[in-house]
Symmetry: C2
Subunit: 188 residues, 2 copies
């Protein structure tokens, strides 16, 4: 129960200030639990964060497998839509992506492996069913999947990017439509 209170406090801090702000003192203050107990339950802050990431398992929550998959092209579009939705509605996920860019640890490595695995699976199936080059499909997928976290993180402090309102639905609708368009044009 105390353990849960600590992890909940981590969640609160992450959503508000990001993973960078998670320290023993901050967590102790936010949870009302003594510092010493944090060290007893989790050995140090790193392992606390690992536990937080694992319990909120970011990539297991992303069950793209459940999407309707009639057409491959449509399936890919759906995946990107789900990806955008997740990042747009979850501050914690945005913070995770931001944190990744300046930190390295086992939890992040694991997430990357899962992401890589999932990505390859999708790219493989797209190639198989459309007959396109793997390298081309991989590059397109990378460009899109990389831009989405960047723009969603940026939107928190920069409302407009190249005239796109990235902090509003309208901007993301434009982005979604353009991703669809690229897919229609590229995977012809």
């Amino acid at each position: 129960m105390t353990e849960k209170r600590i992890l909940d406090a981590v969640g609160t801090i992450v959503e508000r200030d990001g993973f960078e702000a998670v320290g023993v003192n901050a967590v102790a203050a936010a949870s009302g639990v003594s510092k010493v107990l944090i060290y007893r339950y989790f050995n140090n802050v790193d392992q606390l964060l690992v536990k937080y990431i694992e319990t909120n398992d970011f990539w297991l929550n992303a069950d793209f497998a459940s999407l309707p998959c009639s057409d491959v092209r449509e399936f890919a579009k759906q995946i990107f839509r789900a990806y955008i939705d997740m990042l747009r509605k979850s501050p914690a996920l945005r913070k995770l992506y931001r944190w990744e860019l300046s930190t390295q640890n086992p939890a992040i490595d694991r997430l990357r492996r899962m992401r890589e695995e999932m990505g390859m699976k999708i790219i493989d199936s797209v190639c198989q069913q459309t007959g396109h080059e793997r390298s081309r499909v991989a590059a397109v997928a990378s460009l899109i999947t990389a831009s989405v976290p960047y723009l969603s993180i940026l939107s928190e402090s920069c409302p407009v990017y190249n005239s796109l309102e990235i902090n509003a639905d309208s901007g993301w609708q434009q982005i979604t439509e353009t991703i669809d368009y690229i897919f229609d044009k590229i995977l012809d």
Copy 2:
């Protein structure tokens, strides 16, 4: 002269550990200059960073205007190539882009305004000469210009992304080719 030593030290720290690591103590240690002098020359760390950004003026250094601009499509491709090159070869620029995602201050605002202005100018000319919708062109440009900093930052700690070797020339060649390809397909 002392001023230069301080700014140089900032550069060293930024390239190695990023803007987040620039503090009075760190700069004093790296430059061999007393803390007090840092406060005398620049009033605080924020203004020191502003000065550093302004002297290394990141967006004035990016003179895309000097590129050969026969065909618009070719011009756009050249710009993206230059953009990728800059980000790939300058650790400081990568660190700036990373820093931007978690900080807000006047210097960053200014950079964003310049970026926005330059972006709009290019997008305008592309639209004008190809007859494409502004919103579509803006969205494509945003997707690409957002993915490049993300992937280049990521490459420092994650060598492979969707099977692309983003920490090697080969991966970026693939990306460059695909950007060209997208342009040829989209700006038909």
